[in-house]
């Protein structure tokens, strides 16, 4: 207890710095995976992509990031075990942040494809298992999280496969693909609007302090009509945008006009992708920070129930935006340049499938890898014979990153944990 009273402010400042560093890293590197597909299919310019990423990453983090944050904060390890030594929680979460951040930095410099989520989960499990005790970890929950890493790409792939098959059947393989595209694309826009407002209504508004009650019993039943209405507004707005697109006939590129219609849709799915990414990945930076802040502020009591201060999500959101502005835009440009074969009619299916999966995971509080989910979604479109060439070696890389990142994050976290322990409580 005395340690927290003595060093409380130091801990807070350090935690904020590490959390911000982590969020910066997410903005600098990770966001590129979410936005690169939109830039690559030329649905968005780099400037538009960054603007969308800034706004919707932030909204996603702020409105729907709470559940995953709370999983990272108190869902992986049992705070009760540390009730007598609350400073251990502070050391542990600081070392987890520092370990994940360091590992991501090393991996980026070496060009290894690693996931922020896996780094932070590995780090937390590492410090808790070695530094505290094996019993401090909710192994069941960790098992669930690991299972979700396998399930999420498969689910995203299935959704994208279905979406692209529907596009083939209802739009592309018809007599008048252009007219069909204009007629049916607002339906997909509706899905985007519905999905985002559902998650926001169910998970987000309690942070903001709003509560909509239409007297329909459960929260879920209340949210459906409101979301459907918001979806209609989104679709209507999208339909207005589509009106400006005219068909141009070009014998060499008969689907050019159709793709221009899909490009408008992709602006919407890019927003949903950024929102989804924000809702899931910001927690990686913010979750440990929240755990530290609540421990320090309650003067050493590890209060699992205390409300998370709103400014913590803000630090995460701002960190991501700064990361994007300082470095991320370059990564997005390069990724976009590499993905030239992806057309908007495929890109949207991949993004929507991935975003839906990530948003569902965010709502259930599962920290998953947005990048791996998107890879699954792109492969889903590929299985529908929609993409010219996909490099399957990436799948091997992903397995490697699982195998390496978890122990690496854990190892670094253990080292930092004992380092902090040695410095502050000799």
């Amino acid at each position: 207890m005395e340690i927290i009273a003595e060093y409380g402010h130091v801990f807070l400042i350090m935690a904020c710095v590490f959390g911000f560093f982590m969020a910066w890293g997410i903005g600098a590197n990770d966001v590129a995976n979410a936005m690169g597909t939109s830039v690559g299919s030329r649905a968005l310019t780099i400037k538009q992509a960054i603007l969308i990423a800034m706004v919707f990453e932030f909204l996603g983090a702020y409105l729907a990031g709470g559940e995953v944050t709370s999983t990272i904060r108190k869902g992986i390890i049992d705070p009760e075990i540390m009730a007598d030594d609350p400073q251990l929680m502070v050391y542990g979460m600081m070392s987890a942040l520092l370990a994940a951040g360091t590992w991501l930095l090393i991996a980026s410099l070496k060009g290894w494809p690693v996931s922020t989520t896996h780094s932070i989960v590995g780090s937390i499990v590492g410090f808790a298992a070695v530094g505290i005790s094996m019993d401090a970890i909710y192994w069941g929950k960790v098992g669930g999280i690991v299972a979700s890493w396998v399930v999420s790409p498969v689910l995203a792939g299935s959704i994208s496969f279905g979406l692209f098959m529907s596009v083939k059947k209802f739009i592309l393989d018809t007599d008048d693909p252009f007219g069909r595209a204009k007629r049916y694309i607002p339906v997909y826009m509706w899905m985007v609007g519905f999905m985002i407002s559902m998650v926001t209504l169910l998970k987000g508004l309690k942070h903001v302090g709003l509560n909509i009650d239409m007297g329909l019993g459960s929260n879920f039943a209340n949210a459906i009509p409101v979301s459907a209405g918001i979806g209609l507004l989104v679709a209507g707005f999208g339909a207005l945008l589509l009106r400006g697109i005219k068909e141009e006939f070009d014998e060499m590129d008969r689907f050019g006009s159709v793709e221009r219609v899909f490009a408008v849709l992709m602006v919407f799915t890019a927003c949903s992708m950024a929102f989804a990414h924000g809702s899931n990945d910001v927690a990686n930076a913010v979750g440990p920070l929240a755990a530290i802040v609540s421990t320090v502020q309650s003067g050493g009591e590890i209060a699992a129930k205390s409300v998370m201060p709103w400014w913590i999500l803000l630090i995460g959101g701002v960190g991501i935006v700064v990361g994007l502005a300082t470095y991320g835009w370059r990564v997005i440009t390069t990724v976009g340049r590499k993905i030239t074969e992806l057309t908007p009619s495929r890109g949207f299916a991949a993004e929507l499938g991935a975003a839906a999966t990530v948003v569902i995971a965010s709502a259930t509080g599962l920290p998953i890898s947005t990048t791996h989910t998107l890879v699954g979604a792109v492969l889903g479109v590929g299985f529908a014979r929609g993409i010219g060439a996909l490099n399957l070696r990436v799948i091997g890389n992903i397995f490697m990153s699982w195998l390496i990142t978890l122990p690496a994050g854990a190892g670094l976290a253990i080292i930092f944990f004992f380092l902090f322990k040695g410095i502050f409580s000799p």
Partner: protein, 226 residues
């Protein structure tokens, strides 16, 4: 650090564009043949030499493109159609360029000039052969549209329609070559025997060009078959 970004490295280079370029180059080699036949009819061997040179260059370029396609089709790529089918398609497309070069070679090598009576029929046959190559190219140029719709439905029917026209052209070249051989047979006794042998050979090579164009179509059809 950027080059190995996960999403960035997920996308390979689609082989469709390079395959189309390759067919375009092979067709270009074939498209010179009517001019060459005309030059030989005019006994203008300087001009014929230039045309043969152009054909040779096109064939060499096609070879380069072919190797490029093969190099960029590693086994780890996940493609919408079987990789083996694409590789076979490129090999057969390359035969179109080779066949054009063979015809050019025999004509320039022997300064071959067909008898006056055969000239109109020969030019007609050459035009039809070249038209078959052009038709094969048109079908190959549908590959990107096929990819756009995921190799299904109406687009497949559209390409199948083109392949039927290609078959028709090839059958026409068979008939024209048959008629030419019959005429040549009647004139045989008045002509130098060695020349006659090579006239037959040239006709066979020309027919082979159309056959190869048709084979490109066949391969495309196999690619589309489920």
């Amino acid at each position: 650090m950027v080059s190995r970004n996960t999403i960035g490295s997920l996308f390979g280079r689609s082989p469709i564009g390079p395959i189309q370029e390759h067919m375009q180059m092979a067709n270009e080699a074939a498209q010179h043949l009517p001019e060459l036949i005309q030059a030989s009819a005019d006994d203008d061997w300087k001009r014929a030499g230039e045309i043969v040179k152009a054909i040779g260059e096109a064939e060499a370029d096609a070879d380069k493109l072919k190797r490029n396609v093969r190099r960029n089709l590693p086994k780890s790529l996940f493609l919408p159609v079987p990789r083996t089918d694409l590789l076979a398609l490129v090999s057969i497309q390359d035969q179109v360029a080779n066949a054009a070069k063979d015809v050019a070679g025999i004509i320039i090598g022997r300064h071959m000039r067909f008898p006056e009576k055969l000239q109109p029929g020969l030019l007609e046959l050459t035009e039809t052969c070249v038209a078959a190559c052009q038709k094969a190219l048109t079908a190959i140029q549908e590959l990107d549209e096929l990819l756009e719709v995921g190799f299904t439905g109406r687009e497949v029917k559209r390409v199948e329609g083109m392949l039927k026209e290609l078959d028709k052209l090839e059958r026409r070249t068979d008939k024209q070559a048959f008629a030419l051989r019959a005429k040549l047979f009647k004139l045989e006794s008045e002509l130098p025997p060695v020349d006659v042998m090579f006239f037959y050979r040239a006709l066979t090579l020309l027919g082979g060009l159309a056959d190869n164009a048709e084979k490109v179509g066949d391969r495309l059809q196999i690619l589309l078959a489920k």
